[in-house]
């Protein structure tokens, strides 16, 4: 009955209640959609980093990521590749020879990471081979069969003022510590969503770079793509326990900035929505305070005829909850529908594509929010309602029935 009475009381002044319900709905929808956009951007940054360079897991010599010297190759690399190929969780394995060098054209020069790859394998672990915008990826086309082909990003080509067919000189230190280098022929240009990546990564055949480095064999890095990203830990443990003298790092270990961004997203969202709800709380307090003050005489009557103060308190609390939860549910339904729609069609931000590519974000954002956001949001709405109800309820509790009954209608 108390709940029914609270619900009916809420609709005494429909305009006022609808205004606050609309404010809650719009506030939550705006907050969730903005949060979904942030989530979408973060997801794309992580996905693009995984798809281009990191993969889900990488295996190195334990000292390679610190020292980056060319002789720190992975022991038993071939066995690891064979073992990984047979792991059910793994869908792509790409061994790489990695060296840092200087790429020079007639115009200018810039630092790059030169990745020596097995072309057919690289496409299983990275999206770069499928991101070719001109030419091919290291001999996938007959006319690309030149002596030392190289594939670079469009950003680097633009910076060095080169194009396919141009010669690119890359210099680096060999295994003996001597500066060495070669003139490569650009056979392909790729373009990913990250302009920074495109400017700093070049692909050659593993055998070519190994020859130039003076290495007899081996790889510095094995990148693994998994069918399910949540299996990273499991695969990491399997590899670590099976092979000695290697280190397996997940993308989170290799890119802590992305990991923190992913982990912080929930906290940021919580703070973001809490600020919106705090602003809404003032509106709810105002509405409920007006509701209490307008009904002073009626509340006095209820106290006089034998309604306990705790029931009056509960009634005001339930009215506030009904008001807030109605707005909350509508807000979640609207935001859920809007996020689903935007996730389907995407938000085209091509006007800002240059800026977005610097951060590894594509020009079309697909907003999304984790499902667990909604219970958290509902909990926030309930907490907001409870806090908002305190002051109006105290006002009602402080009424003296005899005095309240004397007030004007």
């Amino acid at each position: 009955m108390l709940l029914e009475l609270a619900w009916k009381n809420m609709w005494r002044n429909p305009t006022r209640s609808l205004v606050i319900i609309a404010a809650t709905t719009v506030g939550l929808t705006g907050g969730v959609v903005a949060a979904a956009l942030m989530y979408g951007m973060a997801d794309q940054m992580i996905t693009s980093a995984i798809e281009t360079r990191l993969s889900h897991l990488q295996i190195h010599h334990p000292d390679f990521l610190v020292e980056h010297t060319v002789d720190l190759v992975i022991p038993q690399a071939d066995s690891i590749v064979t073992y990984a190929d047979n792991m059910p969780e793994v869908i792509g394995v790409s061994p790489r020879v990695v060296v840092r060098g200087m790429a020079s054209s007639a115009k200018t020069a810039g630092g790059i990471n030169l990745l020596g790859v097995e072309p057919s394998r690289e496409s299983t672990a990275s999206s770069v081979p499928s991101s070719i915008v001109k030419g091919g990826f290291l001999g996938t086309r007959r006319r690309d069969h030149v002596r030392d082909p190289i594939v670079i990003g469009t950003e680097l080509a633009e910076k060095l003022e080169l194009q396919t067919g141009s010669k690119l000189v890359v210099t680096f230190q060999d295994a003996g510590g001597q500066i060495t280098g070669a003139a490569f022929t650009i056979t392909g240009l790729y373009e990913t969503v990250s302009s920074r990546f495109d400017e700093t990564h070049a692909y050659v055949r593993a055998a070519t770079v190994r020859r130039l480095l003076g290495l007899s064999g081996g790889y510095h890095e094995i990148a693994l793509r998994l069918s399910d990203a949540s299996d990273v830990k499991l695969v990491e443990e399997k590899l670590q326990s099976r092979f000695r003298g290697i280190v397996a790092d997940s993308w989170k270990d290799m890119a802590p900035d992305l990991r923190y961004m992913s982990e912080m997203m929930n906290s940021m969202l919580f703070i973001f929505l809490a600020v919106i709800l705090a602003a809404l709380a003032f509106g709810i307090v105002n509405t409920m305070l007006m509701a209490v003050l307008e009904r002073t005489r009626e509340l006095g009557m209820l106290l006089a005829v034998g309604m306990h103060r705790r029931l009056v308190f509960m009634m005001i609390l339930l009215e506030t909850l009904a008001l807030s939860i109605t707005g909350g549910i509508l807000g979640m339904v609207c935001s859920g529908a809007l996020v689903a729609l935007l996730d389907n069609i995407g938000i085209d931000l091509s006007l800002f594509s240059k800026g977005l590519r610097v951060f590894g974000i594509s020009e079309v954002i697909y907003p999304s929010v984790p499902v667990e956001l909604y219970p958290m949001l509902m909990a926030l709405v309930v907490v907001t309602a409870l806090l908002s109800a305190i002051y109006p309820s105290i006002k009602a509790l402080r009424l003296r029935p005899a005095a309240a009954l004397r007030t004007a209608a």
Partner: protein, 228 residues
């Protein structure tokens, strides 16, 4: 046996710089089945007296007993519970809950008493029949006339089967016809249920119908007359 007894009740308000003596040394008794009116000019202390008897306010001095209970001995929650089960209220401005129907307004008191649904329905039906408004039971207060609303208020006041009904200017907002009708109903209910009715009023029609008239003047009892 007295249903209400006040002994030397005084009430002084200190809400402004000058203390206001609303009641001074008022002693009176109301016996079973009384149909009494508390009369007097504005400011004579009628409403204050009703508040004291109804346990809505406490006397500065003296004591108020309803039935066997000294109201001063009850804690605030006990007083609320006591009012719920023993005293019915009828207010000048009806004070029905606007979002509930006439039936729901009557049932509300019984709901506070935690009575069963069936009992509530039956009692509400009986009372709405008794005040002649059963056919308007599902109307909200805004759909009822002033007279009808006050009849619902009387039915609500009797819902808890109280020994005492306190009615503060019950006819003040009613036209003659509605007022007479209401008084007929209350007199009949007083006869049928034996409930004590105490009105505070200026209304000659009420004074004429009351079997006892207690006149207050400047917070003191000026006269106490029985019209049996």
């Amino acid at each position: 046996m007295s249903v209400v007894e006040t002994k030397g009740v005084s009430k002084t308000y200190h809400e402004s710089t000058v203390p206001v003596h609303a009641l001074t040394d008022v002693s009176m008794k109301l016996d079973e089945k009384e149909f009494a009116a508390l009369v007097g000019p504005s400011g004579s202390g009628k409403s204050t007296m009703l508040n004291m008897i109804g346990g809505l306010d406490a006397p500065t001095k003296g004591s108020v007993s309803v039935g066997t209970r000294d109201l001063a001995a009850l804690s605030v929650p006990q007083l609320v519970e006591f009012r719920l089960h023993n005293i019915g209220f009828v207010f000048q401005a009806f004070n029905l809950i606007p979002v509930l129907t006439a039936r729901e307004n009557v049932e509300f008191i019984m709901l506070l008493q935690k009575q069963k649904k069936r009992e509530r329905h039956e009692r509400a039906e009986e009372l709405l029949q008794a005040v002649g408004i059963a056919d308007r039971a599902d109307h909200r207060p805004s759909q009822l006339s002033g007279g009808e609303q006050q009849r619902v208020a009387v039915a609500r006041a009797l819902a808890s089967r109280p020994t005492l009904v306190l009615a503060d200017e019950p006819t003040a907002n009613l036209d003659s016809h509605a007022a007479e009708n209401l008084l007929d109903i209350m007199a009949r209910l007083n006869e049928e249920y034996g409930t004590v009715f105490l009105f505070s009023t200026h209304d000659e029609r009420v004074i004429r119908r009351a079997r006892r008239v207690i006149t207050l003047h400047d917070g003191r009892i000026a006269s106490d007359e029985r019209h049996d």
